[in-house]
């Protein structure tokens, strides 16, 4: 197929950006979206032009590195799919495709389609863990864990930290990301001792990083490539309230 790409180009963090148009012909429907970009980039390079910078690594939908807005939708048109797992069979010959970076105050653009998601790391650093030093652990089967609770923890832990939730939220809120980590540890006995401290510290850091508030649009849930449910946000709100009251 033949496609027209409108791509955000920006030379550096402080440079102005612009949309540029590229033709992508000879696109096979079996290609992944990123392979289609690879082909465009090879051609740009051959012409002596700088290829489009975009983040990616595993290309298996698990590392959370890839991060493109495609026609205004984080990770593009296929539900429950990262852009590296999106294939061109989802598009039609002659389509125009708009490709932009994640846009959020807390994710500054570094170049073209690459943004800085360091804020997510800092939120985890603020408290997204169980304080257990190596060597301290009892036998793994000492504490039985209710299977459903454990599965729930896993549903939340499936978050890949890609930031699509933030990019798609009109407020640039990171609630789904934070809620997923809070729920992952909150549904396990190992996470209980620090449960309240954790939610307070993580939410405080989230606010500091300049993420917006949640006003219940749930765009985050709609684009999440791991289909993390929004109910975790409600759970986090409860945890946060409880913890806040306990702290007072």
């Amino acid at each position: 197929m033949e496609l027209t790409l409108h791509v955000w180009r920006q030379d550096g963090p402080d440079s102005p950006g612009r949309m540029e148009i590229y033709k992508a012909d000879d696109v096979s429907s079996d290609m992944s979206f990123l392979e289609m970009l690879d082909v465009v980039n090879e051609r740009l390079l051959e012409e002596g032009k700088e290829p489009i910078a975009f983040d990616h690594d595993c290309r298996e939908g698990i590392c959370g590195t890839c991060s493109l807005m495609i026609n205004g939708v984080a990770h593009g048109p296929e539900e429950g799919t990262t852009v590296c797992q999106l294939h061109m069979r989802k598009f039609k010959d002659g389509d125009s495709i708009y490709i932009e970076p994640w846009r959020a105050r807390a994710f500054p653009i570094l170049r073209d389609l690459v943004v800085d998601r360091g804020a997510f790391d800092r939120i985890i650093e603020a408290g997204g863990y169980v304080s257990v030093a190596t060597g301290n652990a009892p036998d793994a089967n000492t504490i039985p864990v209710n299977r459903d609770e454990s599965e729930m923890a896993m549903d939340a832990a499936a978050c890949i930290g890609c930031g699509a939730c933030v990019a798609s939220c009109p407020n640039g809120s990171a609630m789904l990301f934070v809620a997923a980590k809070v729920a992952h540890l909150g549904h396990l006995p190992q996470g209980q001792p620090e449960r309240q401290k954790r939610v307070l510290a993580m939410v405080e850091q989230m606010d500091k990083e300049g993420f917006g508030y949640c006003t219940n649009h749930y765009e985050c849930e709609a684009v999440c490539p791991k289909e993390i449910p929004r109910k975790f946000i409600a759970e986090m709100n409860r945890d946060y309230l409880k913890a806040g009251m306990a702290a007072e």
Partner: protein, 637 residues
């Protein structure tokens, strides 16, 4: 060069305990006087950095991704082994030890493997305590699955995302140390060289991948945990950024390289679908618990799989290896798939594929159970191929996946450069000529959580601080070398892109140093690779500059090192005149096409020493002795 593996004396069960007692300790107040560099934040590097931080050392940890949590360990699907024997099915530390040594085709060091099996149980305990949500039974206790090369169920898993969950556990431990200030995490910071002073590793030089700034870092010891080098083949199951640069630079500074030709070609990759393909995707080995592998009995049978009646299918793994069946080890299964395709019985485009069929499992346990076990893998398969594996069998084909070879280390995981430790996939230590499934995660975490914290302490206690500062001329010298290499890459001004050259190199490697190898082929590759390398240095095209985020420059730098490593891989494969594990020399096979080892002449680790740019490397040997597992013909029949 004398290779001293420093294996402790005494019976194998007592070696590690005795060694730990004999190792020198750094007293708690003194630990804060020491600094350690850890390159890599995967399971090996992340667990090492977190644990060294907990102990009180100052740690600087580096990765090339934008977050420590994205190291390629995250992609591991199937699981992690441990000798818990929770299933009461006959497992033990001894059995895990034996299976791993046998799985490695008797080419690994017994003492290391035994230690790994011993530590395996503590890893599971640690991970559960961190909140890793492993799969559980209804009673609330941990569940296990089976993996290739073992007849017990000892693999712990978190759906098809085990690596992700283990890495998040380890990343969280790391984040806790970052929060306390014990560890400083440096992301998008690529190590480009190692700095030695008086022969001791004292620092590294990195490039900041956003600004291009070249930076120098000094420490009392350096740990490399930079993963494997399967991307030498261009197409592999590794992430696009996985590279050999850190270990290759260390090799060129004097760390010797062990068994570079031991690579693992995984039997269940999704077949390549086009020339533009950028990587291969793995379908976890755990699928072979329930999936049955088959090809048509007739050569050239082009019917759709559903139209081929039961009696005209060849379930060749079950036929040839009845006692392990579909769970035959990886090297054996991959070669069997290749043989089927070479016979003309392969399926799918180009006949390079075999079926992995779940029809029986769906009948036996129901579609819901199959979905619960493998749902995410089926989903991924469907996205990539556009086919629904609940209805038509998957098509799979072997894919480069893991490298057993790596920098040589002694029992303390230290390389031949004092102060340079190598852990995880980057070293060669535990898997011999073939790694069993679910053993890499175990090894990475064993090295990082439970080995290096002890052995690092011993090194620092014995050698004291390096006493070196960034003003040492060695730093300026190494920085200049790094800058010169970058300038050279930027200024070739040719017309071939890094990917284009990498594909050419990868093809040579796959054809001649892949699943099966011959003397003639390898000699041919050893002529071709220097030509491709010359073409690279004369005709490479990189645009842009160093002072910005420049992904073409990153690729070119990594490829330059793969170009050199590939040659060493072929050289090693040529020198090893036997077949063992993942290394299959066509000249050395049994009548029925199985690998034929030569213990008389090759029961050793091949260890290569860099001798200079235009010199042939020198090979040394570390003899392997087997006191506890008698080398036998490795039969899975």
């Amino acid at each position: 060069m004398k290779l001293d593996a420093k294996i402790p004396s005494g019976p194998i069960q007592e070696k590690w305990d005795r060694h730990r007692f004999e190792l020198k300790l750094v007293n708690p107040a003194n630990k804060r006087k020491y600094s350690v560099i850890v390159v890599g934040s995967g399971l090996a590097g992340g667990s090492a950095a977190a644990t060294l931080g907990e102990l009180g050392y100052h740690v600087d940890c580096f990765c090339y991704q934008d977050s420590a949590r994205r190291a390629h360990s995250i992609a591991a699907q199937g699981g992690i082994n441990a000798a818990k024997n929770y299933q009461n099915d006959g497992d033990s530390i001894w059995r895990l030890f034996y299976d791993t040594v046998k799985g490695g085709d008797f080419r690994a060091r017994e003492a290391n493997v035994y230690r790994l099996a011993q530590i395996s149980n503590a890893i599971i305990d640690q991970c559960v305590a961190q909140g890793v949500p492993f799969g559980r039974e209804y009673g609330g206790l941990l569940d296990n699955r089976s993996f290739g090369g073992a007849q017990v169920s000892r693999t712990f898993y978190a759906r098809g995302q085990t690596g992700q969950q283990l890495l998040l556990g380890c990343y969280q431990a790391l984040a806790r140390q970052v929060n306390t200030g014990q560890v400083k995490m440096h992301v998008r910071e690529e190590m480009l060289d190692l700095v030695l002073v008086n022969g001791r590793a004292v620092g590294i030089v990195t490039r900041n991948m956003v600004t291009g700034e070249i930076r120098k870092w000094v420490a009392d010891a350096v740990v490399l945990a930079t993963g494997g080098y399967s991307n030498a083949y261009y197409l592999s199951t590794n992430a696009k950024g996985c590279n050999t640069t850190a270990v290759w630079r260390a090799y060129k500074k004097g760390a010797v390289f062990a068994n570079p030709c031991y690579t693992q070609i995984h039997p269940t990759g999704i077949p390549q679908h086009g020339e533009y393909q950028s990587k291969l995707t793995l379908m976890s080995e755990s699928l072979r618990n329930d999936g049955r592998v088959w090809v048509p009995k007739e050569v050239g049978d082009k019917r759709a799989p559903g139209d081929i009646p039961e009696g005209e299918r060849d379930y060749y793994l079950e036929r040839i290896y009845p006692s392990f069946g579909n769970l035959a080890p990886r090297d054996v299964s991959s070669r069997a798939a290749k043989r089927m395709c070479d016979e003309g019985r392969g399926v799918g485009p180009g006949g390079r594929g075999v079926y992995l069929d779940f029809e029986d499992a769906i009948h036996r346990v129901g579609i819901d159970t199959v979905r619960a076990r493998y749902g995410n893998l089926f989903h991924m398969y469907e996205k990539i191929t556009g086919e629904d594996p609940y209805k038509v069998p998957m098509r799979i084909y072997p894919a480069p996946h893991y490298t057993m070879g790596g920098l040589w280390v002694d029992y303390n995981l230290m390389s031949t450069i004092p102060g340079l430790f190598v852990i995880g996939e980057a070293n060669f230590s535990d898997h011999g000529a073939n790694r069993l499934g679910a053993s890499a995660l175990m090894q990475g975490l064993a090295d990082g959580y439970f080995v290096i914290p002890y052995t690092m302490g011993d090194f620092l206690a014995q050698n004291g601080p390096s006493g070196v500062s960034l003003d040492d001329p060695a730093f300026a010298e190494t920085e200049n070398e790094v800058r010169a290499r970058i300038d050279r890459l930027l200024n070739i001004g040719g017309d071939r892109t890094p990917d284009n050259l990498h594909i050419e190199l990868g093809k040579v490697m796959w054809d001649y140093c892949g699943m099966s190898r011959t003397k003639e082929g390898l000699e041919g590759a050893l002529e071709k690779i220097p030509q491709i390398r010359q073409e690279f240095w004369e005709n490479l095209k990189v645009v842009g500059n160093n002072e910005s985020l420049n992904q073409t420059l990153e690729k070119a730098g990594r490829l330059a090192d793969f170009m050199e490593l590939s040659e060493l891989m072929c050289r090693d494969a040529l020198a090893r005149e036997e077949s063992c594990g993942g290394h299959f020399r066509e000249e050395h096979q049994t009548e029925d096409g199985e690998a034929k080892r030569n213990d008389e002449d090759f029961s050793h680790v091949s260890v290569w020493e860099f001798k200079g740019e235009d010199q042939a490397p020198e090979m040394h040997k570390e003899a392997l002795t087997f006191e506890n597992c008698k080398p036998s013909i490795r039969s899975y029949k």
